[in-house]
Symmetry: C2
Subunit: 387 residues, 2 copies
Amino acid sequence: MTNAPTKKHRVTVVGSGNWGSAISKIVAENTKAHPELFHPEVKMWVYEEEYQLSPNHPAYDPAKHSQPEKLSTIINTLHENVKYLPSIPLPENVIATPNIRTAAEDATILIFNVPHQFVFNICNQLDGSCLPYARAVSCIKGVDVTPDGVSLFSDTIGKRLGIYCGALSGANIANEVAAEKFSETTVAYNPPIGPTKDYPNGLVEVPADLPAVDHAFLKSLFHRPYFHVRVVSDVAGVSLGGALKNIVAIAAGFVDGLGWGNNAKAAVMRVGLLEMRKFGKMFFADSCKSATFTEESCGVADLITSCNGGRNHKCAKLSVQKGKPIEEIEAEELNGQKLQGTSTASEVNEYLKRRGLEAEFPLFTAVHLILKGEAKVENLPDLIETL
Amino acid sequence: MTNAPTKKHRVTVVGSGNWGSAISKIVAENTKAHPELFHPEVKMWVYEEEYQLSPNHPAYDPAKHSQPEKLSTIINTLHENVKYLPSIPLPENVIATPNIRTAAEDATILIFNVPHQFVFNICNQLDGSCLPYARAVSCIKGVDVTPDGVSLFSDTIGKRLGIYCGALSGANIANEVAAEKFSETTVAYNPPIGPTKDYPNGLVEVPADLPAVDHAFLKSLFHRPYFHVRVVSDVAGVSLGGALKNIVAIAAGFVDGLGWGNNAKAAVMRVGLLEMRKFGKMFFADSCKSATFTEESCGVADLITSCNGGRNHKCAKLSVQKGKPIEEIEAEELNGQKLQGTSTASEVNEYLKRRGLEAEFPLFTAVHLILKGEAKVENLPDLIETL
């Protein structure tokens, strides 16, 4: 007979942008809902900054808020991330924590939700402060593609910190999730058993006095009535979906810019979905499952969401309609932010070209060529035709 | 050494609505493009009616067109189906033929493209007039679901006429295809070898002096630079996709009517896609392939098109927005035409209920209950939640 665990998991969210805050809200609702598994308190690491509360904010009090304050203080007082997720009440058990090492040091579950360009630096700051048996989940969209290979942020985090890291990705526009509009997501978690290349000494086991971290546990951590979760084992597929769909969203934007109609858009999305899957199967043969792309929220559903809206689709559409390079539209429309799809298209093309595989991915290749001005949008059907 | 075929196929399209005319156009372009396989002439059966050409038509000549004329005469003179596919030039090798038996009697390839309620009557008219070795393809969307079983129109046609019938279905809004806007489709063809239950004497073989009717041949018949074709063997899957997607389109319309956003819509589409596939696998286990639903134009792409537009989606959305039963919206919006999704939802539910399987298809069941007023749209997430 197994003894029931006597301890509980402590959860920390590393990141407090709009998606990080939305995930903190969900997780804090669940730590309260499942007291048998979790300490209620969820620490949320906040990159500290000074913030001046607007006099229009309903909680504004001139006696308290006339000067800029620390963002973490405002979050812990008003229970709202007034800067990055305004107007959404956060549960009071979300505790904004400006020191990243303090935030992480007693966490048995770490959820990473930061812009991808900050991952390396954050791991450097965290180095040595995590519990050796902590488990992590990366909500960071995308993968790191260089001509030499494709690396997953979950792997980067896991290797750098010496802990195991899974992934979460889905059709998840953060503001819709935060507003409790119905959404689904996919969580991937598949820790290795025994020593592996990445974990030569094997993973440090989760102590027996803590609840086991398995698929059912992760569902309890993330699933809400308005945020349905499926947990799978394919970390590579879940991570790749969130990156490669942006290439397809650009193609869908091109087609919408031309006014080609619903058939054409659906066709481009179908072809793109199969290329996403083929890429996964070709380069992560050991782990990538077909079903992750064609059945899960992180695959087909995220693709649908991204092709019906989102900045990659929008900028590609405008670029065709206005007859301008997409970089110009990006500068006009995104207020300094960068399109992920254009860089992913270029990185993926570089990777494929080096392996002589461009022809195997006609849609990815066509998007890259069109973005470079070396092919015409109007020729997309010819470029992806298979005879 | 095999002798090259000395004869050529003759193609007839049974039907001349907007989709029938668009398919006739495509097929006639291909009979000209592949003279080694086909006689160029494509007969198109036209349900004869009198039609008064508008004085605004560019070809209107008061000396010729002041009185109503036979529609078949107008089509053969102006090379345009002025009533059902106006403004689209038809190739001159499309020959409108008002007598259905004359249209079919020398055809080696019959393409059925009529409204589904006319299938039985048309087969009765054709009985005994088809070549025994003719092959057919049904472009009729949907399936015939009764509490006793699901029958495919392709099977109904094939059995009634004693010939083999495959199917064509995809993300194909007819007017977009006719305007040569890029589209894809799926053709399914899998004639039995030897005697079967449906063909106790086996199929009559296509004579050796005719080109073989195989997947490559069917691609030559339907594929165009603007209409990409994939040929598969799963006739049941291709046919089911075109019917079941209408239930999902209603769910997507509900979600859009509530203004729930892109995440929710993508979630409902993903759940619906998997229920479509499950239905196919459960009831056509021998033949239905998973991939037909998740990978082909007739599955995921047609679903996407139908959830981004189309009458089922539109009426469901308006019904939520206006707080009216969908039947009222149908009467207001469709000018006497009927929604397929509502009847399919009810027929599929009847079929599932009799087998005690409603809980296995929570989205299909939820749509039916909402349409009947026995569940609320707002509860859709709860109704489809799996714990």
